[in-house]
Amino acid sequence: MSNVLISARGLKIRFGGVIAADGIDLDVLEGENLAIIGPNGAGKTTFLNMTTGYLRPQAGSVSFLGKDITALPPRTITKLGVARAFQIPQLFLEQTVMENMLMSAAARTGQMTGFRRLMDLPERAEMEALLDLVGVRAFADRRTFELPEGQRKLVDIALALALKPRVLLMDEPTSGVASAEKMGIMDILTNALKQQKVSSVFVEHDMEMVERYASRVAVWSSGKIQIVGPPSEVLQNAEVRAHVIGI
């Protein structure tokens, strides 16, 4: 049996009258690509927010490699090896792609110095290789706000990968990307994850993507997990087909 990386138990949170998490139990296993699907407002992003410390659950706990991380802030959880990529790319818009990447590298290696130039850090070659891997090396010297949405999305993921995490949580990695490019991006991405031996969780709406790239699927429905299992099984489930996929 593979190692449990993240383990969520009985997570509950409500915003006013809306119950965004109503007893979520879920394990993220080493080496898997876990897809999270479900209708809008089912609490998928809230789950990512709770597992990364952005929101604190009102009940329940989250642990990472057996260590309780429920009350820790995002930066501490990140340091432990849980990285996150965002639905809307969260970049440092006034700086170049390479500067963005090198900040991530400096954060990982703890080079919080005021004396050495960022652009002279030894990780520069490594970051170039990483940008190459996700296919945005050509943009390295451009400021991130100049990039098209799809490329921003990739830089957002590269920033997280630069942290060399054990597990990467991605919120709709292909949303906002033209459907013709989706497949290409996911190919690049799964390839990069495999190369770096990073496990992943990704929220996804496109069932074709789920079928193709997920090793396991969890279905969300009004704050609860409806079903978890291999894609072939889950995507054939009649209830899931009716409510989530909408067939």
């Binding site: 970049l91 006034e94 700086q95 500067e99 090198l102 919080m112 005021g114 050495r116 130039r117 652009m119």
Partner: protein
């Protein structure tokens, strides 16, 4: 733009030359040039915080602390040495900066500005009202200090103070520019554009901002000491909110993208004030206000931005 551009090299050469030649030709401008350089040092600190998108409307607090460190030393311990003053004053400002900083770096934008303002007004009220210690609004006169144990006549002292200030300004600018180009400096900018993501890189934004805040407090204290020695007086006005506004004003006037802007802005500000005070004594503040509005409306990247634009179009020709 990691390395110094040619434009910057030229500007620095002009600034050094002007700082030495102008006072040699116009002795009455010696103190003015010293003040420009000393205030430029303070404004470097404002520029650091502006990288993170934070405006301190209370930075005069550190300027005042530097000034009164010198004044109190003179009042209670006897006239000291310039070299001592330029160590003591920034150290005091840095210590207070670290203490106040721990609190204020938890806040952003208007709250950051407000809290800084409140702290500085507390200091101002104390300087103004604890008359027995501070002489209140009259301020404390500061005698001419020795330099490395030697006493100098006023004219010589003026020039020596200028050269020492120039040297400090150069060191401070290079150090600040290097800091802004470093990982910590870049992370300051990251606080401005996306603090949440910075935390998601595993970085404590508060720690990054605190380091910047402490450096800016240090620079404020150093500048305050130099201005006090140059003007031979420290008054509560040094810590008043309008003084804080003046520093932010100078930063925007010069341009906040790099260290050079601090001195360009300070030069413009002090020269306009100096000339206007001589010709239109009653309207210098009005003139500066109009200049500020024109700069904000038509040249938002400040004087350095204007020069850059000029240099760029020159290059195309």
């Amino acid at each position: 733009m990691a390395r110094l551009s040619n434009l910057h090299r030229v500007l620095i050469a002009i600034a050094i030359a002007a700082s030495i030649i102008v006072p040699a030709l116009l002795p009455s401008w010696t103190t003015l040039v010293t003040l420009i350089l000393a205030k430029g040092i303070v404004v470097l600190g404002i520029i650091i915080l502006l990288q993170a998108g934070q405006v301190s409307f209370g930075h005069a607090m550190f300027f005042g602390l530097g000034a009164y460190s010198v004044a109190f030393w003179g009042k209670y311990l006897g006239t000291g040495d310039l070299l001592l003053y330029i160590v003591i004053a920034p150290v005091v400002a840095t210590l207070v900066g670290a203490l106040v900083g721990v609190f204020v770096v938890r806040y952003r934008e208007i709250f950051f500005g407000m809290l800084n303002l409140a702290f500085s007004m507390v200091l101002w009220s104390l300087l103004e009202k604890l008359y027995h210690f501070t002489n209140g609004a009259d301020g404390i006169r500061v005698a001419r200090p020795t330099i490395a144990g030697m006493a100098f006549p006023p004219e010589t002292f003026q020039y020596l103070l200028l050269y020492i200030t120039l040297a400090l300004a150069l060191v401070a600018s290079f150090a600040v520019q290097r800091y802004l180009d470093s990982p910590l400096g870049h992370m300051l900018k990251a606080i401005k554009t996306n603090e949440t993501r910075l935390e998601y890189l595993g970085v404590s934004a508060r720690k990054v901002l605190l380091i910047g805040y402490i450096i800016s407090a240090f620079l404020g204290g150093l500048g305050g000491a130099l201005v006090t020695v140059a003007q031979q007086i420290a008054t509560p006005e040094f810590a008043f909110w309008t003084k804080s506004g003046e520093f932010v004003f100078i930063a925007i006037l010069g341009g906040t993208a790099n260290a050079a802007g601090a001195f360009a802005g300070a030069a413009m500000f002090e020269i306009v004030r100096f000339l206007a005070a001589a010709k239109l004594a009653n309207a210098w503040q009005l003139i500066l206000g109009v200049v500020l509005i024109v700069i904000i409306m038509f040249a938002p990247s400040g004087l350095i931005g204007l020069l850059k634009r000029g240099a760029a179009s020159e290059g195309k020709r």
